[in-house]
């Protein structure tokens, strides 16, 4: 019996979120008193796989396959290894891949599934997990009653615990797959910090007034090594690309630090940011609802405040 964790890489490298997932799997396996298996699909070098040992990985299964598999094939590989390793719980990240594949894995394994789980289970027998519902307005405890469980983990909710371990890498035999869907072309967002993985997010709303004003926002993001984001009207207006839209109908983010600049704090926007550890709001209206969600607030005009803020962080970063 075991816990199976499916992990992703980008160009053969793991991100912080991967280590978080592995650490989670390792602690979950300990709670359940079972072993841990990790599945990595794609071309990842031994050394990179061995780096997972820092967080408790011991047995890593590598399928050096082309990653552009379709959802059905992914699900069949993951559920196949789950069956082979008698997995009690299958864990994936609550990202786009997890959302696409975990439900299929659950059906294949006749497992109950809960997505976007917050942290470790509250209880393991019965198996009870926490998650947010009603787009962040409610916290629920859910019992999964099936013998096998599939969960996707919300980013930044579990933390990382070091637990050095030796890693054995085992190569899985190549699979023959007849994809049902074909990728015609891929457009990669280049160079910048990805919103889904960022520790710091700098986000602008309609209070930024015009797309030209984004230059200073990008400067602040640059100084902080942050990803940029925006409210829905900003992306609807075409001021910023759609992938930056945060909120109930956009992306849900959970960074350590979120800057809401000229964002009023509508409930649909808060739905996307309420899991952020710390929220800083800048708004000229002291009554703006964003201040009820923020930890730190600055009341003032962004045209004036934003450049000064960037200067202040530059000073801090340079150590004077």
């Amino acid at each position: 019996m075991s816990v199976l964790v499916y992990i992703e890489n980008r160009n053969g490298k793991f991100k912080k979120s991967t280590y978080e997932l592995v650490s989670y799997g390792s602690r979950l396996a300990e709670l359940l008193g079972v072993g841990l298996n990790i599945l990595s699909i794609g071309n990842v070098a031994d050394d990179e796989l061995k780096s997972l040992g820092k967080y408790g990985a011991s047995h890593v299964h590598r399928l050096a396959a082309d990653m552009s598999l379709d959802d059905k094939s992914f699900a069949s590989i993951i559920s196949g290894l789950a069956a082979q390793t008698s997995a009690k719980v299958v864990v994936m990240a609550h990202n786009l891949t997890g959302k696409a594949i975990a439900p299929r894995v659950a059906i294949r394994l006749k497992a109950g599934m809960v997505s976007a789980v917050n942290g470790l289970p509250v209880l393991v027998s019965p198996f009870v997990v926490n998650k947010k519902s009603f787009s962040g307005k409610s916290l629920v405890q859910i019992e999964i009653s099936s013998a096998i469980k599939v969960i996707t983990l919300s980013q930044n909710t579990a933390g990382m615990v070091e637990k050095p371990s030796n890693v054995i890498v085992e190569d899985l035999p190549a699979v023959s797959i007849y994809p049902a869907t074909r990728v015609l072309s891929t457009e990669v967002q280049s160079g910048k910090v990805l919103l889904s993985e960022a520790d710091v997010v700098v986000s602008g709303g309609r209070g930024m007034r015009s797309p030209e004003n984004w230059k200073p926002l990008e400067e602040l993001a640059e100084v902080l090594g942050a990803a940029t984001a925006c409210s829905r009207p900003v992306s609807d207006e075409g001021w910023r690309p759609h992938h930056e839209h945060v909120g109930q109908t956009g992306k849900v983010v959970a960074p350590n630090l979120y800057f809401a600049l000229g964002i009023s704090g509508a409930i649909q926007h808060l739905a996307g940011i309420s899991s952020s550890k710390v929220i800083v709001a800048v708004n000229k209206d002291p009554e703006a609802p964003i201040f009820t969600a923020a930890d730190y607030g600055v009341i003032g005009d962004l045209q004036v405040v934003l450049p000064k803020m960037t200067e202040a962080f530059k000073k801090l970063k340079s150590g004077n």
Binding site: D71, V183, T249, V280, M309
Partner: protein, 249 residues
């Protein structure tokens, strides 16, 4: 080609969520019900596709798993432009239960494309679309932000972490859609509302399906402590607090 759009009936997104006193259920009194925002966009796109190519797309069906009180939401889908509707007479217990009901309800129908939203705004399950695809043994593409149909080939754009991909899938397929799929949701016209009354809304009974998870309790998220206001003239103080007090930079 026939398109099925799966519609989840959810409380309006601005609703304050209240619970029964034992915190075991949601108190739905006074709630305004709407079509789940993504499902509304999926329906809108299906209607746009049919309008653009009526020879290719014969019928759009809206389906929901819900009790009779979900019917006004289905009627709205009909008023927007769906041709007919199906209600499976059951309240969803978990994603597996809902997906099983949907699978059973359409087993004798012939759909070429099923559109689901990426998640419902009430329970945020993000599961029904993928489960339905697996139960039907159909291909699926998730996080779809655009869809076009050329003959029998379905071209979609999907978001991936850090980019996007243009994909091709055949029929039948399940498309799990998100932002971008349509710009603004279709609003029913007066004429649409009138004709919706005459359109067919079929009610089918639920089948046995064992839910595999259930909610034990609800709680309000922890209250945030009051916001600390920093003087706009002293932003060094903000940088200092984020560094030494909040320890996030």
């Amino acid at each position: 080609m026939n398109i099925l759009v799966c519609i989840s009936n959810v409380p309006d997104t601005t609703t304050r969520i209240k619970y029964t006193t034992d915190q075991k259920e949601v108190d739905y009194s006074g709630v305004q019900w709407i079509i789940n925002p993504w499902d509304e966009l999926a329906l809108t796109r299906a209607i746009e596709l049919k309008e653009a190519n009526p020879a290719l797309i014969q019928k759009i069906t809206a389906i929901t798993v819900g009790k009779a009180d979900a019917e006004p939401t289905l009627r709205k889908a009909l008023a927007c432009g769906a041709d007919d509707a199906i209600r499976v007479d059951a309240s969803g217990v978990d994603s597996f239960y809902t997906a099983s009901q949907l699978t059973n309800a359409i087993k004798d129908e012939s759909f070429d494309l099923i559109l689901c939203g990426i998640e419902s705004s009430d329970f945020n399950g993000a599961a029904v679309g993928g489960m339905l695809a697996e139960l039907l043994d159909w291909p699926s593409v998730s996080a779809v932000s655009s869809v076009n149909i050329e003959n029998e080939s379905v071209k979609v754009t999907r978001e991936i972490d850090g980019g996007k991909q243009l994909m091709e899938t055949g029929t039948p397929s399940v498309l799990i859609v998100q932002k971008g799929i349509a710009l603004n949701p279709r609003i029913p016209s007066m004429r649409g509302i009138m004709t919706a009354r005459t359109k067919q809304l079929k009610v089918v009974p639920a089948v046995e399906a064992a839910a595999q998870s259930h909610i034990l309790t609800f709680a309000a998220p922890p209250q945030k402590s009051a916001c600390k206001i920093i003087d706009a003239e002293n932003l060094d103080e903000l940088a200092r607090l984020l560094h030494t007090e909040a320890r996030v930079i």
